[in-house]
Symmetry: C2
Subunit: 354 residues, 2 copies
């Protein structure tokens, strides 16, 4: 081994869902939105001044930030934007978790949390979910260096009520509590109403799910001005210009069409209810989702087997090798047509194997 | 102070050049390219499938990476792309500089280097440039945890020869040596020919200067596969999807038009020669630039005064408060017309004050 190899940072990278480049697949593995971005996004894209790409973008992404502050009824200085919510979350870890005490997040949750903790050398502990995959608020009452809760949680799809999260906040006023609301638009309960009361609360959101814009990499955080300023300072110590001109403009445009947005959410929620019932008919146990995916296991067939059989039929769902959830599939809610094809494939698989 | 404030990461952020949003200014302060992106970029932008923005981008940005590997005659696995060269450089610092020995870079150089060192807690030392603002290769022969050289250097505009850098590489085979070639296309000497011989060499480039695409945030690194893999692993531990769909596609398209690219470079180099002469006629001492900017001081008038007077006339140049370079202005090469206006403004200022 060369001498310089000793000083390479040791990491165990996050493994994202596959992004197969073929066009004839049904992609239900990374919780993307089956509907295209808002017509306002198309319009703004068409009228972008490509000439201006030779200039640096606005480093504070004001157009997008101000639109978000207005949309959520916040004051100036309460929103931070980044390159997807992963960028925002990893920066929040780096900014806020600098104590020697462990941060806390559940054993079954977004699998990027332990990766960020490792890369930034943040100690962490993972209180286990209960046997129904519910977070136990009491577990977050011990001394810690910070708390991170995905609500609704992934990959379980289950949400907590605002009053349960309030309990966690009340017990943790000396550390930053991050609530990752990536999926909240699909029927979860947001903690936005608590923002005024808890100055240590940071809410993180993404454009990748409900806003159909995963390809443009937009995420944001909402919190009190002191938190947002601290994140901005750290961001300005890493990369002044993170958001492309296009992401700033298209992200702002997406907020101008509430009807289109709500309509898409409704369609996904309806398709979710339909799919849940159909899966249950076929012998699946399905958790009560508040997200744009279902977390389900078959009562007789193994998760690995179903995952592989679906894959052979060019239907991609997500399967985790982690012990507690090995029998489950995480199935993104696509269009009704996509779900019907997925169900037909399951029928075929089950018919063949019985 | 609240308890949680104690655990906020302490930083001194980098201060980028102003990005005034008015349209009637002459912006010569952030080394942007005065010419628009390639016609191929316009064409690709016009035909982007906005529908696909609902999907995540290719996490390995293969289209862009493969085009770059081909363009530079490299093998598969030798290119890493990021959100501007700042993203690439900061990630390289985090990936490679994990020893207790100080990394080395000059006292007068890109002012983001010490900021990254601070944010990631990397010890560093800054050998001073000589009295002519030249790097002294011998200063980099002491024990260290890594070396970072901007070549050509900023804000001095001066380049080193490949043989001088080779000396530094020969003396530093146990650490990673980063050569930041942000400005090399404007007449510098690239160390690309040394890539085969030095497996610890990482070359970093950007689309923000020579490729007129600062607004799309594209930077890249070239190195041996082991280095690129290490950076990829760390990147995958922070954010799987950093490059927007649009940046990947437009970045690839930009490489398809060599003639347009070379033609722009030639125009900028010609305008630089013209501007240098004109500044000298007006009593400036101008360093021998190999970049798209000039670093110059007036023999009688102070840098601060000239900076402010130009600013009053809506001409933005860059001025640093750092001791050694306080009398200098860093002036981006714009179009010939812009430079003529800048020179006319200088004539006015000098006339008024004499």
């Amino acid at each position: 081994m060369n001498q310089w190899e000793n000083n390479i940072r040791k990491v165990t990278p996050y493994v994202p869902g596959e992004q197969p480049q073929e066009n004839d697949i049904i992609k239900l593995n990374t919780n993307e939105n089956p509907y295209p971005p808002s017509p306002k996004v198309y319009e703004r894209h068409r009228t972008m001044e490509v000439d201006r790409f030779s200039l640096y973008p606005d480093p504070s992404a004001s157009e997008l930030v101000e639109k978000l502050e207005e949309y959520y009824g916040l004051e100036k200085g309460q929103v931070f934007v980044g390159v997807g919510s992963d960028d925002v979350l990893s920066l929040a870890f780096l900014t806020f978790f600098n104590s020697k005490k462990p941060i806390l997040f559940p054993d079954v949750t977004y699998s990027f949390y332990p990766v960020w903790a490792e890369v930034y050398r943040i100690p962490y502990e993972c209180p286990p979910l209960d046997e129904n995959f519910r977070i136990i608020p009491k577990d977050y009452e011990r001394e810690n260096g910070g708390v991170v809760i995905a609500n609704p949680n992934a990959p379980t799809s289950l949400g907590m009520s605002i009053s349960e999260i309030e309990k966690i906040l009340l017990a943790n006023q000396d550390v930053i509590v991050i609530i990752d609301e990536a999926y909240v638009d699909f029927g979860g309960e947001t903690v936005l109403p608590l923002l005024d009361r808890f100055e240590n609360l940071l809410i993180v959101r993404t454009y990748s799910k409900s806003r159909s814009m995963a390809g443009m990499r937009i995420g944001f955080a909402m919190g009190n001005k002191r938190l947002i300023q601290a994140m901005t300072d750290v961001k300005e110590s890493i990369n002044s210009y993170t958001m492309t001109m296009e992401s700033i403009c298209l992200g702002a445009a997406s907020l101008e069409d509430e009807e289109y947005f709500q309509n898409n959410l409704r369609k996904i929620i309806d398709t979710r209810a339909y799919t849940e019932k159909e899966l249950e008919k076929r012998g699946f146990f399905v958790l009560n989702s508040q997200t744009n995916f279902l977390f389900a296991r078959h009562r007789e067939m193994s998760g690995q087997f179903l995952f592989e059989e679906l894959r052979k039929r060019k239907i991609f769902v997500r399967h985790f090798q982690t012990e507690r959830i090995r029998e489950y599939l995480r199935i993104t809610i696509g269009t009704k047509e996509q779900m019907e094809k997925m169900l037909a494939a399951l029928d075929e698989i089950m018919c063949e194997s019985c």
